[in-house]
């Protein structure tokens, strides 16, 4: 394939047609599913009527973002083994969701993460804190998705002008707002299920195609990939991207901590656990998700090394979007314009669906936690609450579009890693303490949420992410502020997890043991009985 073709590969018209078809189908489904959205339970939790496997696939759809599909395969294509380390962290984290969080969360909460903490302490400040951290994590994650959209557009639709890319990002935002407004959780869930299915099918098909080139032999594929790479056999082992210095090694450990602990604190994952009728279905759905996510990541391993072999690192780096373009280029190499069109549509669908899932989570958190519980003191009219949620969805959509336009060009997988660090620091300690520690008090909750949130976001601000690194070094891209004279970074690591997560756990403990008001033992007993037996848990509207 001539290098010039990398600038805009395939025929943009075909790519666009396949994508438009997906949008049309999902819109019809969102409208027909959402027509029956009457109550808050319908809007926030899809009536709690999805089965385990449906929700499991939808969870996979929510989770497998553009960072997974394009980002991880891209890192593998450029740096080899180190990309694999990313995907393992993303997968293993699901076991903590399964073992520690999914069932008690489903049994004790209603719509949001804050509901679980609320079972322990009915306190307005705690709910406010939980809502703030939910909104922050959702916005971080949204930003990552929208940033990825811009790069993709330039590659796949042949839109190379900045204004053109911005318009496409805005269109993505508008579509996503429409899904959420009309479809609610039910419509959004169906969008996720469809998206996850075509994503899995697309990845599996391309994987088999790559393997067919190497005679269905993984060692053969690895041999070809290593031979094609300038680094040679080094790509088959770790350290190419993260092994450069002691700082980058600890940076990687910090990332690994954030990845494995972050999943159980992601608000859009937690909220999805409420869409099933009971805890048992929640458990089943997470096992489904582990299969979907795990098999998908095994595919990205083949796709990444396949791109290294068949496309070559030089061409990937030269393409717009860098590593994120590895899979589209591979698809073009293998199956020409048709396969590229399919992969492009899948990638767009991925961004669109994840963004919709995040938007509904953030809007639910604002409407349910802030508006209904804090501002209205718990007796908001459900109709008004859903209206507030819809207005919030529009506001968040607009913020995401503006953020996406500003954050163009930052590595997607890297931004997602930061979102995981904030989630693991701000959300996870208070969830685990609420569920398992009888003594946990209001002060402990506030200290761990705000401590985790402020320390993780603060360390990102004072890290090389924002300033002090004028040009990209290996895995670590240049700072947002590339001006050499502006340097306020004093924290050496790009990912704050290794400091902020233990700090948040520690603050939760310290706040609790120094609190003069003891925990409410009756509330703990009620929470635990409910968490383990399901007595009094929210019912499905369809049973």
């Amino acid at each position: 394939m001539p290098l010039a073709a990398a600038q805009t590969v395939g025929t943009p018209v075909l790519n666009f047609a396949i994508f438009a078809f997906f949008v049309l189908v999902t819109l019809v489904i969102a409208v027909s599913a959402g027509g029956k959205n009457k109550s808050t339970t319908d809007y926030y939790a899809g009536g709690r009527a999805f089965t385990g496997w449906q929700n499991g696939i939808a969870l996979g759809g929510d989770y497998l973002s553009a960072a997974s599909f394009l980002g991880i395969a891209g890192i593998i294509a450029l740096a080899g083994y180190d990309g694999f380390l990313y995907s393992i962290g993303f997968l293993v984290g699901w076991l903590l969701v399964l073992l520690l969080v999914s069932e008690p969360l489903r049994n004790t909460g209603r719509y949001t993460m804050a509901d679980v903490i609320d079972m322990r302490m009915r306190a307005v400040p705690v709910r406010t804190a939980a809502a703030i951290s939910t909104l922050t994590v959702s916005l971080f994650y949204l930003l990552a998705q929208m940033a990825g959209a811009g790069a993709l557009v330039s590659l796949l639709l042949g839109v190379s002008s900045t204004a053109g890319q911005d318009i496409v990002v805005a269109v993505v935002g508008l579509l996503m707002i429409f899904y959420v407004l009309v479809g609610g959780m039910k419509g959004t869930t169906w969008v996720q299920i469809i998206k996850a299915s075509i994503l899995a099918a697309g990845a599996a098909m391309t994987t088999l195609w790559v393997l067919s080139r190497s005679g269905f032999s993984l060692p053969e594929l690895l041999r070809h990939a290593a031979a094609a790479s300038p680094a040679g056999a080094a790509v088959l082992g770790p350290g190419l991207e993260y092994g450069a210095s002691t700082v980058s090694k600890f940076d990687f450990i910090s990332l690994a901590v954030a990845l494995v602990l972050g999943t159980a604190g992601l608000p859009h994952v937690l909220m999805r656990l409420y869409t099933v009728p009971n805890a048992r279905e929640a458990r089943r759905s997470v096992v489904w998700t582990i299969w979907v996510v795990g098999l998908f990541y095994l595919c990205t391993l083949v796709l990444g090394f396949g791109a290294m072999w068949l496309v070559g690192g030089k061409q990937i780096e030269a393409a717009p979007g860098g590593g994120d373009s590895a899979v589209p280029l591979l698809a073009y190499h293998l199956g020409g314009t048709i396969l590229l069109g399919i992969v492009a549509a899948v990638a767009f669908a991925t961004i669109l669906a994840v963004v919709a899932g995040l938007t509904i989570t953030a809007s639910a958190s604002f409407a349910h936690d802030v508006y209904a519980s804090v501002l209205r003191k718990g007796d908001a009219d459900p109709v008004a609450e859903v209206r507030v949620a819809r207005i919030t969805a529009v506001v968040i959509g607009v913020v995401a579009v503006i953020g996406g336009i500003c954050a163009k060009g930052i590595d997607v997988a890297f931004l997602v890693g930061l979102a995981f660090a904030v989630a693991a620091s701000a959300n996870l300690p208070s969830i685990l303490y609420s569920l398992f520690w009888p003594r946990f008090t209001q002060r402990g909750a506030l200290w761990s949420i705000y401590g985790g949130l402020i320390s993780s976001v603060g360390l990102i601000i004072f890290s090389p992410v924002l300033s002090g690194q004028a040009s990209a070094v290996g895995a670590i891209g240049a700072s947002l502020i590339t001006d050499r004279h502006v340097d306020f970074a004093f924290f050496p690591l790009n990912n704050p997890g290794i400091v902020s997560i233990p700090l948040a756990f520690f603050l939760g403990w310290l706040g609790t043991v120094t609190d003069r008001n003891p925990a409410d033992a009756v509330r703990f007993a009620r929470m635990q009985v409910r968490a383990l037996t399901g007595v009094g848990a929210e019912r499905s509207t369809r049973s």
């Binding site: 083994y81 694999f84 393992i88 009756v522 703990f524 007993a525 009985v529």
Partner: protein, 149 residues
């Protein structure tokens, strides 16, 4: 952490009624222990609430102990196994590059084993919970819900 402690009446209540706690093992599986039905908020704080009595009951204690007997070792194992992998990848990359056969090295096998162990724990937990946990929680829930009328 609550899951790991033996059941005790909670310490906060002034004069909380401690239910008869260590029951003879033979009685443990008897259907109805005097568990008070779960009564929601109308119970004044400080009095023995229905929920505290349930929490202190033998059946509930069995559920908690059985659940923690799975999830505590599973979590310790999976986190230890995962961080062992990360630490070796970061500090001993040479070991990861040792060839097992051809271009397949230790690192790749180790990584694929992480996938395998994740699948195994997930499926194992689901099966275990269905067989060993769900019957107990179902029975207790039915009794608690039945106690309402």
């Amino acid at each position: 952490m609550a899951l790991f402690q033996p059941a005790r009446g909670s310490a906060s209540g002034t004069g909380a009624v401690r239910p008869a706690q260590p029951m003879p093992p033979a009685m443990a599986m008897q259907p109805v222990q005097p568990v008070q039905p779960a009564q929601p908020a109308q119970q004044a704080r400080g009095r023995a609430s229905g929920y505290e009595a349930v929490r202190a009951s033998r059946d509930f204690w069995t559920i908690r102990r059985r659940l923690s007997s799975f999830i505590v070792p599973a979590c310790v194992f999976l986190l230890g196994w995962y961080f062992l992998y990360v630490i070796i990848a970061v500090f001993a990359p040479g070991f990861m590059r040792v060839s097992v056969f051809g271009d397949v090295n230790v690192g790749l096998c180790f990584g694929v084993l992480q996938f395998a162990s994740t699948f195994a724990i997930a499926v194992g937990y689901r099966r275990w919970a269905q067989r060993r946990l769900d019957p107990l929680t179902d029975r207790l829930r039915r009794r608690l819900e039945g106690g309402r009328y």
